[in-house]
């Protein structure tokens, strides 16, 4: 057995630990505290709010008077947390999560070194990451994700470029384009993979949340008011530039989501902001070996959850988009609901009574938006052979296809054959696309039902620690050689 490391690690424990302080995790924390449980809330950012309810950095606070609904909601959450005695741990990079006899053990790097947090229950509310369907030139400087542009706009009041093309799928398109216009930027065009009919299909669900629909209408009004060209049922097929982005090529898309050869058009732009939906961040639930299922409409692989956010692992819960992408409103409601479930479960354990099964309907609005942003197999099938898929390790589609030809028949094997997914992002950005490419080859079709069956069979990459890259320097701290608990020598 290894002796404990003594020098820098601070240890603490709580009834419930929550990873992620966005709408889901933050709301769950407030709910649980009001039910009398002790809560430790951990996040990478210095202040609670997550991506959508992001706080302004202290340095920008005085100047900007942003009264957007997101800022107001975020300030409300931050106020509620500040007035509670939730153990708030911002600026923490969680690098390891494991089960231990008391429940769960979380290891994080913080401003004063390594920290160990133990808790009986764990809520994972770590949100999503962005997905981009690669095209030639997508790795040029000047191309960035929709969510990345949102962060620039929200937290730094920085425009992504002088002349910006906003492209991809889903409601973030209009939100980002309107945000750029509002901040005084120029949007050269909006390229929407969906057409009017697709949006019409979602309109019933949109009416279920009038406030959100009105907000969306406001974004559209701003885009129309600026006379920004909107290309519906189009997608970006290439980006060009010597050292930085100079122009992009767009193409109309067919009914299956694949670009068509005719009707292509070049647009000049120094910035392309693009996103093809969001993928639930399942690193922690996969690391803990909870059961997952593939659901294209919810963003891909999602933990199997009951209506109360319970995973298949005792004491492990998921709230928010990490359990399936349904948007901020659902995340806030889910945070409250999962918080109540965790509190009920804790009381049931204390009283030795039955746990209450909970059920909940999938929110229509969020589901309709996620459906619009889903990955289209035929779009992935159209990626040209020489396009880089894994930008950390520079692995092209042709190399992935060759690995499949050489007998790789599951995603981990593709990784070992090509190094795809072995870089700093550990496959967060390319994993979904690689699995889709393999599914397309194995299924020999590109309809969603067939591909979904193949995806479920193919699985996803094995999750490992560290959950995010960590500097060795901060991980090991200051130590003497004598502090290293070197095990006894191996036999000779």
């Amino acid at each position: 057995m290894n002796a404990p490391i003594a020098s820098t690690t601070a240890a603490s424990s709580a009834d419930v630990a929550i990873i992620g302080a966005g709408p889901a995790g933050g709301t769950a924390a407030v709910t649980l505290r009001s039910r009398g449980l002790s809560v430790t809330l951990v996040d990478e950012a210095p202040l609670p709010g997550g991506q959508v309810w992001r706080a302004l950095p202290q340095t920008l606070k005085s100047g900007a008077a942003d009264r957007s609904p997101d800022r107001i909601d975020g300030d409300k959450l931050r106020g509620a947390l500040a007035n509670s005695d939730v153990d708030w741990r911002g600026d923490r990079r969680v690098w390891s999560v494991m089960r231990d006899p008391q429940g769960f053990r979380i290891d994080a790097l913080g401003p004063s070194g390594t920290e160990t947090i133990r808790a009986r229950s764990l809520i994972v509310a770590s949100g999503t990451h962005e997905r981009t369907v690669p095209f030639p030139g997508w790795t040029l400087p000047g191309v960035m994700g929709l969510a990345a542009a949102t962060i620039l706009l929200k937290s730094q009041h920085v425009l992504p470029g002088q002349r910006v093309v906003v492209a991809g799928a889903g409601p973030l398109l209009a939100a980002v384009a309107a945000g750029i216009l509002k901040a005084g930027g120029e949007v050269a065009a909006v390229i929407d993979q969906n057409g009017a009919l697709d949006w019409l299909g979602a309109s019933g669900a949109m009416l279920s949340r009038p406030a959100l629909a009105i907000r969306g209408a406001g974004w559209v009004r701003r885009i129309v008011g600026a006379r920004t060209p909107v290309y519906r049922r189009h997608c970006v097929v290439a980006a060009q530039g010597e050292t930085d982005l100079a122009s992009i090529t767009i193409a109309p898309v067919g009914a299956n989501g694949a670009p068509r050869p005719e009707g292509r058009k070049d647009l000049t732009a120094d910035s392309l902001v693009i996103g093809n939906g969001l993928v639930p961040g399942t690193e922690i639930t996969r690391l803990l070996r909870a059961e997952h299922r593939f659901d294209r409409d919810l963003g891909g692989w999602c933990p199997v959850l009951d209506g109360g956010g319970r995973t298949t692992i005792e004491g492990l819960y998921v709230a928010g988009d990490g359990g399936g992408v349904l948007g901020v409103d659902a995340a806030r409601a889910g945070g409250r609901h999962v918080g109540e479930t965790v509190a009920d479960d804790a009381r049931a354990v204390a009283n030795r009574s039955e746990r209450r099964p909970t059920s909940r309907r999938r929110p229509r609005f969020g589901a309709a938006m996620a459906h619009l942003a889903r990955l289209r197999p035929a779009h992935v099938a159209s990626i040209p052979a020489e396009t880089v898929i894994c930008r950390c390790e520079d692995v092209t589609r042709a190399e992935i296809d060759r690995a499949i030809d050489e007998g790789a028949d599951e995603v981990n094997q593709i990784k070992h054959f090509t190094r795809c997914g072995m870089g700093p992002c550990q496959g967060r950005f390319c994993g979904d696309i690689v699995a889709e490419l393999l599914a397309l080859r194995q299924a020999g079709a590109d309809d969603e039902t067939t591909i979904d069956r193949a995806r479920a069979r193919i699985g996803s990459w094995t999750a490992r620690v560290p959950i995010r890259p960590v500097p060795l320097d901060s991980l090991i701290g200051d130590f003497d050689y004598a502090d290293i608990p070197v095990p006894p020598p191996a036999p000779l």
């Binding site: 002796a3 094997q413 500097p471 020598p489 191996a490 000779l492």
Partner: protein, 377 residues
């Protein structure tokens, strides 16, 4: 329907794949069964270190031969598996470690490994990145490493070209010893028959031998490893320490792999399902103590691989007592270095190609067991 072969190998790791390859090249019809993809357990997740200074004394001759086989892998395997030949250093930071190092170096040298002892200044000439705090270093010019994760890809092509029936993702339920040989049952169905059987299942050789009523206890070690992002060159040798609890090298792509057999959490049935944060931090501290410039890198991934260990920590390689033409091949410590040679000698023996070196028959390790319920021998 079952297929008839001359030999069936169960376990598609380095040992099983090598045995299958040389049996097939020796003219036999061979089937290889593997429950997952080839070389994805210990053979694909180990540190890829090819070193004499972590090898058991009894295995040194095989390790030297194995090292030479890795160097010529392009010729006989068709793929070099990213093999790099370089110097190897084993470091001592304390008087106690220096004594251990001198003693072990002498014994390994006597067994044929060209290990010499270097002063700190001499060691720094070999490895400019090494800590100035060392007292003594063991040096071996026969060292190096591969990209262990490429092992399966390399063997897969070679095995198929040699005509081996490669059955990946085919877990074997049991083996039945019949009059004419052995029958392999997978998913409730008899899949293949052969006169000869090789059990090469790593930590799973214990349950495999139990199919034949033979009880060989195998301990499962959960070895943790960690790798950094790509960084500028900071070292050019394989670095270990006297006790054997470190293996450290930088790949040509700039990533640095940190290993040494620090123990994670898991078991044979569930694998290495969690890493010990203490062991990971301890292992990384040791690595950064040895090569101080490593502190500037970021850790991107850590994992655990299973290693098999017998009661006397020496291999289980040889005939299965009481079962004609059945063999076991496993539990080779640092087997990634010596395993190629050991499995090739086993295959040569099965092919009747004259007397090779004495291997590691398991009679010494067997415990009293219940008689085989399916067959009296």
């Amino acid at each position: 329907m079952t297929a008839d072969y001359d030999a069936i190998v169960i376990g598609g790791g380095l040992l099983g794949a090598t045995a299958a390859l040389f049996l097939a090249r020796g003219g036999m019809r061979v089937a290889l069964f593997e429950r997952g993809p080839l070389c994805r357990e210990a053979s694909g997740t180990n540190a890829g270190t090819l070193t004499m200074q972590m090898t058991r004394v009894a295995l040194i001759p095989f390790a030297l031969e194995g090292h030479a086989m890795w160097q010529s892998a392009r010729d006989w395997l068709g793929h070099d598996v990213g093999m790099v030949t370089c110097d190897g250093l084993s470091l001592a930071f304390t008087e106690q470690e220096a004594d251990l190092l001198s003693d072990r170096a002498a014994k390994r040298r006597a067994a044929g490994a060209p290990i010499t002892l270097l002063s700190p200044a001499e060691a720094q000439k070999v490895e400019p990145g090494v800590s100035p705090d060392i007292l003594l270093a063991g040096h071996c010019p026969v060292d190096g490493f591969t990209e262990a994760y490429s092992t399966g890809k390399a063997f897969r092509v070679a095995l198929l070209q040699a005509g081996v029936a490669v059955r990946e993702h085919t877990p074997v339920d049991r083996v039945e010893h019949e009059d004419a040989g052995y029958s392999v049952v997978s998913d409730g169905k008899a899949m293949a028959r052969a006169r000869r059987l090789v059990l090469a299942g790593g930590v799973w050789i214990e349950p495999m031998l139990a199919w034949l009523g033979v009880r060989l206890p195998i301990k499962t070690l959960i070895n943790q490893l960690a790798i950094t992002e790509r960084v500028a060159p900071i070292m050019r040798s394989v670095v270990g320490i006297a006790s054997g609890l470190l293996s450290l090298k930088q790949y040509p792509n700039g990533t640095v792999l940190i290993g040494g057999g620090w123990q994670g959490i898991g078991n044979r049935a569930e694998g290495g399902y969690a890493l010990s944060p203490e062991a990971l931090i301890g292992n990384v501290r040791l690595a950064c103590h040895a090569i101080p410039a490593l502190r500037g890198a970021r850790l991107v991934r850590a994992w655990a691989g299973l290693e098999a260990e017998t009661d006397d920590a020496l291999p289980a390689v040889g005939p299965v007592p009481g079962h004609a033409d059945a063999y076991v091949c496993g539990s080779v410590h640092s087997g990634y270095t010596s395993g190629l040679a050991i499995a090739r000698h086993l295959a040569a023996g099965i092919l009747g190609e004259g007397a090779g070196p004495e291997l590691f028959p398991i009679d010494r390790l067997l415990r009293q067991s219940a008689p085989n319920p399916t067959r009296e021998t």
